[in-house]
Amino acid sequence: MAIVSSASILVQPITGELSAEGRLLRADPQLQSMQFAAGGEESGVLAVPGLLEIVMLTARLKMALSRPVIVADVEECNEVWVETRWQDDVVYLSILSRRPVDIPDDDDLHREVEIDTLSGYFSALLDADSLLISLEGAFPHAADRQFIGRPVEGMLGLDAAQRKALNDGISSEQAFQLDNVTVKDRPDEYMLKARPLYRETGNLAGYRLSFSPAQPADWAEDSSARRSDHGRILFGRELAPVLRQPLGRIIANAETIGVKLQGPLRDNYAVYARDIANAAKHLVALVDDLGDLEAVEQPDFETAPDKIELGDVAHRVAGLLALKAADHQIEIILPGDGEKVPAVAEFRRVLQILLNLVTNAIRYSPDGSKVQIDIAKLDDTACITISDEGNGVAEEDREKIFGKFERLGRSGDGGSGLGLYISRKLARAMGGDLTVSQARGGGAIFALTLPAG
């Protein structure tokens, strides 16, 4: 962010008092003016997104914060220094100074890289001499480093016509597109979109090549092209990437609108933007679940067994979900350091199952409760259990819950009804099983069994 001048330190800080929901209880006239300029009401929820964000964080953490915040209106954009404190359920807000700043640039290239990564696509940056300088995202070749610093043609499988089209396109310094491009020694075909990059001086700096999975030429006409040898739609391979791209863009843009402060927003619009982002994230999770569903239902689906240690997996899962648990003051109780139970299974699949089970336990347990992970070896079986202090699963639902799209009447909690179905399929594919019973305290206890190592 470019700094354009020094701050103006206010003789008297601008102050306000707000409820834990961000509603204005009292405000200095200048704060009221900012509220009205952002489309807010006199005693309504604070309409300046950056200020509201720090107020809500203060209310959640119940701590004194001190941060810069961007406040923009139609005429100018200021960085203000804000200090907040929490006392008796009221957030006290003080603005100490303000400094004009340029409105932040929309960092297109950075965002494109993020979206490619999110979408499972990949991209390449070339310098002005067409030498490859970096690869981002899910590049499908293990030996990615060998291509860096070399002409980009070296990493692509091009026929003569494609090679000419690539060279002509780059020479033109214009955007261009190539269909059915492959990466060296890899069978998958991609659509390559090339965009020139320019320096501030206007000279060509290089190219950004974006690779997305190619669609079959007869995609629109011939539905049989979308079916595998078994007659199933290849959702995970073909449809999922196509769906993830627009969803990724929706998430990136909605998050930017809701959080990144591209100017003043009415409070309800910021909420709408976050709702859009959350809905899109839900859809991405659903797309992932459907991709997994398709994979586990293939008759030839198999896992890659390896020697793993269940205590280690438990600790990793707890680490990944620590923040989510902390948000609900839920404590994850882990096996002791000395406890080790070896098993034979595919590590990432076991991790996937446990993430699903512990996420469910956190989601359906009351705040402030405990989720316990235990491990044990019983004869030739290694077992890991996840027990919670939620409402448990009724006896008649204990098989039903592993059904496809089974929600037990719940809705609106972000689940797709596929997680447990996929988890059990994965467990069985690894020679084990996944079951649920009632924990001593009345909650649910899920037991994943696997062949002992």
Partner: protein, 329 residues
């Protein structure tokens, strides 16, 4: 004082817990810091981070349990807290370790008197906000030079909040009747906390207050002092301060050279900063030749692009606990 056998058993038990905990912490830190295992972390770094983590947790537990004597230092359930597996917390402490290393090198290599540095001069500024920020910067710098132990008040707010409630849960588990008291104490503790004093914050605030008035001095680590120099780089490159400290403290000069190029520093200034912060004694003739041959040849746009890659990689790592593809090596 004579220890009875059961006391010794208890101590040994606690010590073995810690030993296992520390061993796992070492593996975690190594994996996080050096995802491609190219540069193993030093024993010294691991020891310092482990000690800081333990000290922070003990200081928190003392506050929450209301104990103060060193004799009843509560340690029995610390290994079960899992705080050492939190990437953001470990990342924060790695940055503090880097900050202390760099601050020590700056002190050893700079010939600018402390009283002549920008923060010291700003102590006399007419605006009390500027003077207070300058004072906080100097206090933090002094703490780094003395290698004082960090306690709970040094943590970023989100980390402190999370860790406090974990300690409460653990206290409650150890002493079931203590739940209400622990919750009440942690709420009091959180209201005593003030983010304004936390590492990096005073410098960020100072930068906000002084704007572009001292840009030339801010590019000079000797005059600006470490905190303001790093805050200035962070604002220019949209990186966070902790990330920059870690990049400067890497065993290679490459990352520090690239961030200075991306921030638009001239070669002689960049070399001067390298001598001060990377350390004159650590610079080999090969490093100097590499720098002199490469710094001017490196295009600023390319450096900015590389810095963006690092930023993406770090964001991804902190969000998912997985290193990205382009961690600088």
């Amino acid at each position: 004082m004579q220890n009875r056998p059961e006391q010794l058993d208890g101590l040994l038990d606690a010590a073995s817990f810690h030993a296992r905990d520390n061993e796992r912490l070492c593996a975690d830190v190594a994996a996080m810091l050096f995802p491609r295992a190219e540069n193993p972390p030093s024993e010294k770094m691991l020891a310092e981070i482990t000690a800081q983590l333990t000290h922070i947790a003990v200081s928190l537990e003392r506050e929450i349990r209301g104990t103060s004597s060193a004799d009843d230092a509560p340690t029995s359930f610390l290994p079960g807290l899992g705080f050492q597996h939190d990437p953001a917390l470990v990342d924060f402490l790695i940055a503090r370790h880097a900050e202390r290393q760099i601050e020590a090198r700056l002190m050893a290599n700079s010939d600018v008197m402390l009283a002549d540095t920008l923060p010291a001069r700003l102590l006399a500024d007419g605006h009390h906000e500027i003077a207070e920020a300058a004072q906080a910067i100097l206090v933090n710098s002094s703490m780094n030079r003395r290698r004082g132990k960090l306690d709970w008040s040094a943590l970023p707010p989100e980390q402190l909040h999370m860790l406090s409630w974990r300690v409460v849960a653990s206290v409650q588990r150890a002493v079931p009747d203590s739940g209400d008291s622990a919750r009440s104490k942690v709420q009091t503790l959180l209201t005593r906390y003030d983010e304004a004093a936390v590492a990096g914050n005073p410098a960020r605030k100072m930068l906000h207050l002084i704007g572009t008035s001292f840009d030339d001095e801010l590019c000079d680590a000797a005059n600006a002092g470490l905190a303001l120099f790093v805050a200035h780089l962070a604002a220019s490159l949209k990186l966070d301060e902790d990330h920059i400290l870690q990049l400067i403290d890497r065993p290679s000069i490459a990352a520090f050279a690239v961030i200075q190029k991306a921030a638009g520093l001239k070669a002689d200034q960049a070399m001067q900063n390298l001598r001060l912060l990377f350390g004159f004694d650590r610079l080999t003739p090969r490093d100097i030749a590499l720098f002199e041959g490469g710094f001017d040849a490196l295009k600023r746009d390319d450096a900015v692009g590389e810095v963006k890659n690092w930023r993406t990689s770090r964001d991804e790592y902190l969000a998912t606990s997985r290193p990205g593809q382009t961690w600088p090596s």
